[in-house]
Symmetry: C2
Subunit: 206 residues, 2 copies
């Protein structure tokens, strides 16, 4: 958590610092991101930075919290109605929410991607420790319920499929940020639809 000094800052300056930090972490890994560059771009003294944050890690963890909360506002509506829909509808909604989030905050998505790409680094462990519900676990639960309701073949490997579905989320995002920049939601969601169809005919009851 940032120090009180940071929250006492005028709104404008605080946002400026956060924006610069977001840029830095969206462009570089946690390890490669540089406090020196951040203070330079933000136009503050090195010493000031350490009046606001305990450390580079402190800033990053705070950023992750902000991003996480923001993402939750996108996911919450879906997660609340999760029992009203069948598995594939849920899945589509979750993917769609993720894509809307990434479209709205591409830099946040980039930071998340960079983080996932750098597992096995200390900062990653620290984050999942305090942020237990990894995506894959959510999908495992959904799959389990879907099987009980007879929506999905009971002979699938839940762990594997959940892992696959979770990673496809990232992959779909990557695919679109690489191949089709700035396209409209419609076309993106159309692709999600295609993928869900593929998945349904694969693991759904016929």
């Amino acid at each position: 958590m940032p120090k009180e000094t940071f929250f006492n800052l005028p709104e404008e300056k605080r946002q400026q610092i956060l924006n610069v930090a977001i840029d830095e972490f969206a462009t570089n890994t946690y390890a490669q991101a540089s406090v020196n560059r951040i203070v330079e771009k933000a136009g503050i003294a090195k010493g000031s930075f350490y009046q606001y944050f305990k450390s580079k890690k402190d800033l990053f963890l705070y950023l992750m919290q902000v991003i996480g909360e923001e993402k939750m506002t996108y996911l919450a509506p879906t997660l609340q109605n999760i029992h009203q829909y069948d598995f594939f509808t849920c899945l589509r909604e979750i993917y769609a929410a993720g894509i809307r989030f990434a479209t709205q905050y591409p830099k946040y998505a980039e930071i998340g991607k960079k983080l996932l790409a750098s597992k096995d680094t200390p900062i990653f462990e620290e984050l999942v420790d305090q942020n237990l519900p990894v995506a894959s676990q959510l999908f495992q639960e959904l799959l389990h319920q879907a099987i009980q309701r007879g929506e999905i073949r009971p002979d699938i490997d839940i762990n594997l499929i959940a892992y696959l579905i979770a990673s496809i989320n990232t992959t779909l995002l990557e695919y679109y940020t690489e191949n089709i920049n700035q396209e409209f939601d419609e076309k993106i969601l159309n692709t999600v639809e295609k993928f869900i169809d593929l998945l349904r005919n694969g693991i759904g009851t016929k």
Copy 2:
């Protein structure tokens, strides 16, 4: 390319240096890997390193070449008989070859994974420039042929599915290195089979 001096080295010493380097790049990203650590662990002087290699990049690119060649010997048999089998058999063979390779040389696989995880870094561009045939392109071609032979629904999005299939390769590998260390080939290949089944019922002609 390493300097001639490196290749004049006695076999044993040369291998020792390579092994240490492989360890270093399997444990760290290219950016995080340290020449200082390498020379220390290899028991050679810093100056000697730069008698053998033009730079850190020189060593890494050479390593990638060695790894690439090694992987090709695993893939070559499959790629040669590529026209004799249907799409899904080809796919299974390619996945299987990849998994056998990763089982045999887990450190090579780790280096490859680290590299893929750090796209958008200069070294990555440099590598794909001289190493054109990215996996996804191979799958695109296979899909195209399979559609012409009527093995696959013609209405799929080839780009997307190829990208998905390519990335699943990495994902499957990750899944197994994370969840089931040191299992026997049989079980791993069993999972590949499951996944291919899933894919077939999704995009195959019924």
